[in-house]
Symmetry: C2
Subunit: 364 residues, 2 copies
DNA sequence: AATCGATGTGAGTCCGGTCTCAATCCTAGG
DNA sequence: CCTAGGATTGAGACCGGACTCACATCGATT
């Protein structure tokens, strides 16, 4: 056996140098492929390295090159396929350029995010991709900029931070989708999101998430333009676990003047809302129309298939990673920034509201 | 402004020491919270550190402690919610013990996996969690053991490697599920998996994945026990992309003596199989019964809801991470290893085969 | 008052690479 | 045959912490 299972200490350049009978400097040059090395020396060194199964210590290398070839990625929840796919886009792109990814999950908690960023900075990552939990509290993100390390945002913008941000135009697609619902006859459109707030939603309220703000703005604009009363009372935030989403769904559908359409802010919420609707014995779209963000494969399998707002999530991850790497390597933005557009994919979950006739009669 | 955006060089212990008018050694002790330091010195050092916004360089620290507080995780595909959830279990557990996670995606490719492990070893991770793409080619995994670094396997076993493995008893649950299908009257049960092989499946064939082998063994055992002919011709491997899965599904349902039940080996396959069945204008379970691995939330939303084999994926991730960390920290297995059991969750996608009566008459 | 163990403290080494610098080796030009 | 200038080479500094070791300091013991 050439390998000794009990060996512990790693083989270093010095070991290789000794075995190859050259100086440490020469061995390092041959191994690192830099500087001038004669063929003779190179061969001896490489042979010795092979023989000893030498592997460079990337930690040591990083320490004095100042580059770790690692990027930090901070997301709210990888379990959420939205981030799963984005992460895939990031890691694929990173790998292509020789970067690795340290992934940290924050559970959408601000404190965890602050911590995550500190840790990544301490680990001397070359750059960061963050999907900020809050678009408002951005002190920790500003610290990243001050440390001089590149930062790119994913999914959500951050106030007072001029970092490149990769997200779709939420306001626009939200506006269009709402118009679609309004055109179908809906006046009572509910919006359910996990965003945490201290108080129930009120118009013009300051939200933590730029993404959700933009979506609400889009809805607002569509209603405004149509000259219809804003369904502000149907905006439900703080939809955390499955139970609370189910409760919210029941409330939305059971009050006086109930919702006739529900927009789910992400895939996880969508699952619980649809399940709640089914449990209530109601059907989509006859009793209530349904629209959700993100086009997951399973949305085609429900009866009826769900109308969704598709986001180029994988591409967003890719774009974020390549922009970050470009910044890290100090290159100028060469390729035109790829357009990241969301689109409404109409399937079967949006129909006319149940009492459309009654309503339009009352309206006329 | 106390911070200078243009500053580049990091603040080091030496800088702090100078500012606090003490030796580097004392500053390091105060900051690292080790050794003996007088209150006076400690205060001065901490104040100086605060003032200069000192942040330790974890790279440097790792270099001479030999610990990086980082674990490497190698999975086939994070985009797959199965791994997404497992990763969540891993990162949650790791974070609790102060470890970070470097995640590498292999696309289930052996070469990528070999590469990933080399990179992680070079980066001096403290330990590795791998969901091996192949249970057979395990040379690279053996190298991990030889490097002296802890290794834990997830989901799949590896031949000739005594690493702790966290996976459910696939043979058992497969056997039971098959018995369930047989009891419902099925004789023609298909099994669809992504596992790559060079040739079409034949009984007793050596597979790359222990997991799939075990499942096939379970099916085999159930048929054997029931004294029924093995539906070997209905085992379909190499089900890669959506298109090939759709094609396979069509073949399974259209030949002479078609399948009356299909088992999908994972969630991604399931999506395409169900979609293909729907596209064929067939319904579940009237025309064909359906069973899949992994209990994702969306399986409750289809019509009918799908019968699934639930695996404690999050727990597997958790267990793998805590076992790894235990090994890293050289502790003995104190807590009893948590039982990881899969279970059959019966919902609506398994029924009697269409021509059950005809068959039983023919049989009698 | 002499002694002893328990802190405190600073100089300097080490981890495993990269990289600078001065010395040495060669080879072509004169 | 001699020399300028590029190719090679080795010694050693350095990255930023952790840690060893020798040398104080100081209250407590006898």
């Amino acid at each position: 056996m050439s390998t000794d299972g009990s060996r512990r200490r790693d083989v270093t350049v010095a070991d290789v140098a000794k075995a190859a009978q050259v100086s440490k400097a020469q061995a390092a040059r041959a191994l690192g492929n830099y500087g001038a090395v004669s063929d003779d020396v190179r061969e001896r060194v490489l042979a010795a390295a092979e023989e000893l199964e030498y592997r460079p210590n990337e930690l040591a290398r990083s320490m004095n090159t100042g580059k770790s070839n690692t990027i930090g990625v901070v997301v709210g929840d990888i379990e959420n396929p939205h981030f799963g796919l984005a992460t895939r886009g990031i890691t694929d792109t990173a790998k292509k350029s020789g970067y690795n990814v340290i992934l940290i999950n924050t559970d959408e908690e601000q404190a965890a995010e602050v911590d995550a960023i500190r840790v990544l900075l301490d680990k001397r990552v070359d750059g960061l991709i963050v999907a900020p939990a809050s678009s408002v509290e951005t002190a920790h993100l500003r610290q990243v900029r001050e440390s001089g390390r590149p930062l790119v945002l994913l999914d959500r913008a951050a106030e007072g931070l001029d970092a490149e941000t990769f997200a779709v135009d939420m306001g626009g697609i939200s506006y269009e989708s709402t118009k679609h619902l309004i055109a179908a006859g809906h006046r009572r459109i509910a919006f359910v999101s996990t965003v945490r707030t201290n108080a129930p939603y009120a118009a013009g309220m300051k939200l933590d998430s730029s993404q959700i703000s933009d979506r609400l703005d889009g809805i607002h604009r569509a209603f405004d333009e149509a000259g219809l009363p804003q369904p502000t009372d149907l905006v439900r935030l703080n939809a955390g676990d499955a139970d609370s989403i189910m409760r919210i769904t029941r409330e939305l559908l059971h009050g006086t003047d109930p919702a006739t359409a529900i927009i789910a802010s992400d895939g996880l919420i969508a699952l619980s809302v649809v399940e709640a609707v089914q449990n209530l014995g109601l059907s989509i779209p006859e009793d209530v129309s349904f629209l959700m963000y993100d086009d997951f494969a399973w949305t085609r399998l429900t009866t009826p298939p769900l109308t969704v707002i598709a986001q180029p999530v994988y591409d967003m991850g890719m774009a974020a990673a390549s922009a970050l790497i470009r910044q890290i390597e100090g290159r100028k933005p060469s390729s035109p920034v790829p357009e990241l557009v969301a689109s409404l994919i109409q399937r079967g979950s949006v129909g006319a509201p149940k009492n459309a006739d009654a309503l339009s009669q009352a309206g006329s």
